[in-house]
């Protein structure tokens, strides 16, 4: 036994000596090392300096690149760096050398869902063990993690949900579901925990409708109203339709609902948008480096995701307000697999005003009916048979209708029945199908098929029926377009530093720009005349690839899209490069730089004055090349736990921008593009935004300085002039104060400079067929700037929970100091019967009221 014990001591001594040798090898000093290139070369340098040899399989290190420049360090520190950068571990050492082995790699795909409804949650902040950069879930509620850890702790944070920590073993869990439970009342613990969590630099351009309720006219909680608060985004003019994004007009912004484009985004001359807040899951506004998949508009892409519907239980919501009323219902068809969501909204101006009109006309033979209404219906079915496949089918139908009708009915001997009817209405119809497939934890694919149509109709009808007399005059007008598209794309995680997105798509447009019909029937004659412009079809094809490369403290996105536009008589092919560099200076500061080139192949016919709200979409032509913009932008972001701020500048250079040769509008005949000319343009500006929030109050402020200019040969003496979308200064302030867990006070202030419009500069008398006619002369276009607009709105939001439902009451005052913001300008007469330029405003001070019940 003794001998055995002695032998053991000797063996231990030798083992200890070997270990000590290995330790001494790892602690071998390195005075200076500079190496760049293949890892094998660096290892050779290390061997030269330390006399330690390395054992490895060639396939482990042959593709590994390594770069280091160190002084007065140890071999251990260098190998730690190798482990970190190349995922190669030094698993074993002895007197002969050190063996290098590949660390196991894991890609984990996660899905974040609402605990009670299984609704996807986008914009959730994710932090995890040994994470280099914080990340957040995408619009599908998904996130992916690359790790070499055996065990991973994941923390998910969203301000409206309870913080959650999940520990997983990546070798066993390639796909994880994380369910977040909503916070009923925010408490201090949640806030304090934030300090220890590394949060991503969230852009102000990402909106979650559930996070912000900003009531506007009538108490409506409009999603686009929130978008208008962002820096760089404003209205065309007060109360007018469409958004201006960084000096670009409404036709330069694309609004996509679940990937389906919507061509008319505002109701009732811009009072509120088609986006019903209760049906929306997430909104992302892209202004810099538009996603190549959708980059066929010059200024922005507004990507809206609809709710998939509750997969656990049926839930419903109904609201009533002074402007509109609506409901939404959603629930499971097959629990956890198949769900539906249905949302409808309608205004009832017309229903309320009808009794008033009847009262006014009660003693008159003349009855008038003026009706103004709009509606939206969203429907969606979402099917998730397993975690790999998701199918959805959405549909939207919405529109406006404005009717003026009169009827003069006299029971005399002639039995006179005289009627007039005028109507203007438009409809959006959208249908879209999406299939999202996760091949594995590194590859996701999307297939989208959609159809979107927009149609506008105008009718003016007069009829007179008497004994032995029938007279009918009818003028109708219509225009529209349809957009049928299919796109496929794939997100591929190439390795821990690179994520590639590739895709292809095809769009078929059909334009019907002008159709006018006149129909008359009387004792003298009977006509039926149709004036129409031939419909145009065109196709747009695209392929793209963009890669996101992560590096220490930042990432770079670069890519290239190719778009091919084709019609019967012309075709164009255009390249669209994109580059966005994001660098985190430290945990609180970030810098961004972007460069992109975008082309646009369809446009709205320009209309510089205030005519009927008619949008005519046309393709570019053989004569007019695709509109193009090159944008350079940069942004600085500061983020602290309760304070965030950003400052950015942008510069856009346009070519092939379209304008009418004489500044005039469309004419009702023949080629609608015959008076068009093209020129160059520029937009530049500064965007500032800040937000400060505490548990019971928050203040958000945004300021935009933006100029938008055009230079077109033959217009305004060939000099640069301000475009219709030039609103240099815009300020938005939003303050929220939580009075208690149930009550909230919101005050918002909006200011914007007036935009230029075209008015006549002089008048003269002409002799036409022997009669004197006053002609108005338009020397220059956009020669008059409307006064600036501003208003303050105050609202009070009260929420109350009952046993089975929850209620939200919004009360407030819109435009509290009754500012008369100009909506249109016209030439009238003043008190002295002299010609006078007048502005007409609407939306004075008015109440807000909205009551919502949620089950």
């Amino acid at each position: 036994m003794r001998w055995l014990r002695i032998l053991c001591y000797i063996a231990l001594f030798f083992l200890g000596a070997v270990h000590a040798e290995a330790q001494s090898n790892l602690d071998a000093p390195i005075s200076a090392l500079e190496c760049k290139g293949n890892l094998s070369k660096c290892l050779d340098l290390l061997t030269n300096q330390t006399n330690v040899s390395f054992n490895y399989k060639n396939d482990v290190i042959e593709k590994s690149k390594f770069q280091i420049k160190v002084q007065n360090t140890t071999l251990r520190a260098v190998l730690d760096e190798v482990r970190e950068k190349c995922d190669i571990d030094y698993a074993y050492s002895n007197a002969i050398g050190i063996t290098l082995v590949q660390r196991p790699k894991f890609y984990v795909l996660g899905s974040l869902v609402h605990a009670t409804s299984s609704e996807r949650l986008s914009g959730v902040s994710i932090t995890y063990t040994s994470q280099r950069l914080p990340l957040e879930s995408d619009k599908n509620g998904l996130f992916s993690i690359y790790t070499t850890q055996d065990e991973l702790e994941i923390i998910a944070y969203h301000p409206l949900f309870q913080l959650i920590k999940v520990v997983i073993k990546p070798s066993e869990n390639k796909f994880i579901y994380i369910k977040l439970t909503p916070i009923v009342a925010l408490n201090e613990i949640e806030v304090n925990q934030l300090d220890s969590i590394k949060l991503p630099f969230k852009s102000f351009d990402e909106l979650s409708p559930s996070q912000k309720i900003v009531p506007t006219v009538g108490g409506e909680t409009d999603a686009f109203n929130n978008i208008k608060l962002l820096p760089g985004v404003s209205n065309v003019s007060f109360g007018n339709r469409g958004l201006i994004v960084r000096g670009g007009g409404p036709d330069q912004s694309s609004t996509l609902i679940d990937g389906v484009p919507v061509y008319k985004t505002f109701h009732l001359l811009g009072l509120f948008s088609v986006l019903n807040s209760s049906s929306i899951n997430n909104i992302k506004v892209h202004k810099d480096g538009l996603p190549l998949k959708y980059s066929n508009r010059l200024s922005s892409v507004i990507d809206v995701g609809l709710n998939n519907g509750n997969k656990q239980k049926t839930s419903a919501e109904a609201d009533i307000g002074i402007l509109s009323s609506g409901f939404s219902i959603n629930g499971p068809i097959l629990k956890d697999k198949l769900s539906y969501a249905l949302t409808a909204r309608r205004t009832y101006f017309d229903l309320l005003s009808l009794p008033i009109q009847r009262l006014v006309d009660r003693n008159s033979d003349l009855k008038s009916t003026n009706r103004l209404w709009c509606f939206d219906i969203f429907g969606k079915i979402h099917f998730q048979p397993n975690y790999k496949n998701q199918f959805s089918l959405m549909s939207y139908n919405g529109g406006d209708q404005l009717n003026f009708e009169t009827r003069f009915l006299v029971d005399n001997e002639k039995q006179t029945d005289e009627q007039t009817k005028s109507g203007l209405g438009w409809r959006n119809n959208l249908v879209g199908f999406q299939w999202h497939y996760m091949a594995n934890s590194r590859i996701q694919t999307n297939l989208e098929v959609s159809r979107s149509t927009y149609n506008l109709n105008f009718l003016d009808r007069y009829s007179l029926y008497q004994k032995e007399l029938e007279l009918v005059n009818e003028l109708s007008y219509s225009n529209g377009l349809s957009d049928n598209r299919i796109t496929m794309d794939a997100d591929i995680i190439l390795n821990k530093n690179n994520m590639l997105q590739v895709g292809t798509g095809f769009i078929r447009y059909t334009f019907e720009p002008f159709k006018q019909n006149y129909n008359t029937k009387n004792l003298i004659s009977s006509f039926d005349t149709l004036l129409t412009t031939q419909g145009v079809t065109a196709t747009e094809s695209m392929v793209f690839a963009e890669n996101k490369t992560y590096f220490k403290g930042g990432n770079v996105v670069y890519g290239m899209g190719i778009r091919y536009f084709n019609s019967d008589t012309f075709n164009y092919i255009r390249l669209q490069p994109k580059f966005i560099l994001t660098q985190n200076i430290n945990r609180y500061n970030q810098l961004k730089f972007g460069f992109s080139v975008v082309n646009q192949f369809i446009h709205q016919a320009p209309n510089n004055n205030l005519g009927l709200p008619i949008d005519i979409w046309l393709p570019i032509s053989a004569q007019f090349k695709p509109m193009n913009v090159t944008q350079l932008s940069s942004k600085y972001v500061l983020k602290k736990t309760s304070f965030e701020s950003s400052a950015g500048v942008f510069n856009k250079y346009y070519t092939n921008m379209l304008e009418f040769a004489n500044g005039g509008p469309l004419k009702g005949e023949g080629d609608l593009t015959k008076n068009l000319v093209s020129g160059i343009g520029r937009a530049y500006g500064l965007e500032l935004a800040s937000k400060y929030s505490k548990s019971d109050y928050s203040i958000y402020a945004a300021y935009t300085y933006c100029r938008s200019l055009l230079t077109v040969a033959g217009i305004n003496d060939n000099l640069a002039y301000f475009s219709r979308y030039d609103r240099p200064n815009e300020v938005n302030i939003l303050a929220e104060h939580k009075l208690n867990a149930k009550d909230k006070l919101i005050v918002s202030f909006s200011y914007a400079s007036g935009n230029p419009i075209t008015i006549p500069s002089s008048r003269y008398m002409a002799l036409v067929n022997g009669e004197q006619v006053i002609i108005e002369e338009f020397e220059k276009i956009n020669n008059f700037r409307l006064p600036s607009t501003h208003h303050v709105d105050i609202s009070y939001v009260h929420t109350k929970s009952y046993a089975r439902f929850r209620s939200t009451l919004i009360l407030g005052i819109y435009n509290i100091y009754n500012q008369h913001n100009p909506f249109m300008v016209y030439l009238g007469v003043n008190k002295n019967d002299e010609p006078s330029l007048k502005s007409r405003s609407y939306l004075p001070v008015m109440p807000m009221f909205k009551y919502t019940l949620s089950l």
Binding site: G218, I322, L323, L352, P355, I356, N473, L475, Q516, Y518, I524, S525, F527, T529, L531, G611, L612, I614, G663, G664, P665, L666, K667, G668, T758, I759, P760, S761, S762, R763, Y764, M765, A766, L767, V768, N769, Q772, V773, I775, E776, E777, F778, N783, F784, P822, F823, V825, L827, N830, P835, S836, K838, S839, R840, S841, Y842, P844, V845, M846, P847
Partner: protein
């Protein structure tokens, strides 16, 4: 609930008017020529000026001396001072067919204006067919023999007759409105929607051929004016390209021809540095008696 709705409706619809300052809108005063001259008549016209947007323009506002240069086919005819009397001027030269006239006018401190136009050559062959009286209208048929080449036309209708004015019966000629379903008229919609006493068309669809027309003349326009028509006067003019463009843009800008898309923009003018029109036409006039 309804009360709140009514209140909201009333507030929304109670829009407000406000006068705007026009200080920032500047304009350059220009001379306006109104010279629409028939073949074989004196070169004459009206000269006026444009005024600010908030002023009322007049054809008779300018008087005094002006300098005129008149050329025919590039040859100087006249270069001297001329009298402008309440906006009217006249030169002792006759507009001859197939001639191109160039007029230059200098008046006061206005920018000098210059315009030129060609006198259309064709004498038109118009044949009156019939006029049929119906219960509420007359139907007038006539034909035009279009000469070879491209031409633009202006059709005007008037009536001669007796009008009762304060118990006196006067011989009068008044513009007469008509309608037509013929799509050759450029102003088809205008002609159909509102009766009109003139209409434009070109011969693109019947170049060099004989073309028949049918016009409907509502009777009620005579009743309103206490007018008893004795004959219808049809005046068909072959007009210059400039005159056609001028009339056409006026039609477009008066919000009638273009339908819901029309707006007041881009009035055509062939006057350099000025406004208005300097143009020529050749006309044929026919009368047809009413029973």
């Amino acid at each position: 609930m309804k009360i709140i709705g009514y209140l909201f409706l009333a507030l929304t619809l109670a829009s407000c008017e406000k006068e705007l300052s026009l200080d920032k809108t500047q304009f350059e005063k220009k001379l306006v020529l109104n010279c629409i001259i028939a073949k074989d008549s004196l070169i004459q016209g009206k000269l006026s000026q444009s005024v600010g947007l908030l002023s009322v323009p007049s054809l008779n506002s300018l008087s005094g001396s002006m300098n005129i240069v008149l050329k025919r086919n590039g040859i100087l005819l006249y270069s001297d001072a001329a009298i402008l009397d309440s906006g009217r001027f006249s030169l002792p030269y006759i507009a001859k067919v197939n001639s191109e006239y160039e007029l230059q006018v200098v008046f006061g401190d206005f920018p000098a204006v210059k315009a030129k136009d060609l006198v259309p050559a064709n004498s038109l062959v118009v044949e009156m067919d019939t006029i049929i009286e119906q219960s509420v209208s007359y139907r007038l048929k006539f034909s035009l023999k279009d000469p070879p080449g491209s031409h633009k036309y202006l059709l005007q209708l008037s009536s001669q007759g007796k009008q009762l004015v304060e118990n006196d019966s006067l011989d009068t000629q008044i513009p007469t409105d008509f309608t037509s379903s013929d799509k050759v008229f450029l102003s088809t919609l205008r002609t159909v929607i509102l009766d009109n006493s003139y209409s434009l068309f070109d011969d693109a669809l019947f170049e060099g051929q004989k073309k028949g027309f049918e016009l409907v003349i509502p009777k009620d326009q005579f009743t309103v004016n206490s007018f008893k028509p004795q004959r219808i006067v049809l005046r068909l003019s072959c007009i210059s390209e400039n005159m056609f463009s001028y009339y056409k843009s006026i039609l477009e800008n008066t919000h009638i021809y273009g339908g819901p898309l029309a707006n007041g923009f881009g009035q055509y003018s062939n006057v350099d540095q000025g406004l208005g029109i300097f143009s020529f036409y050749t006309f044929t006039q026919k009368e047809i008696p009413l029973r």
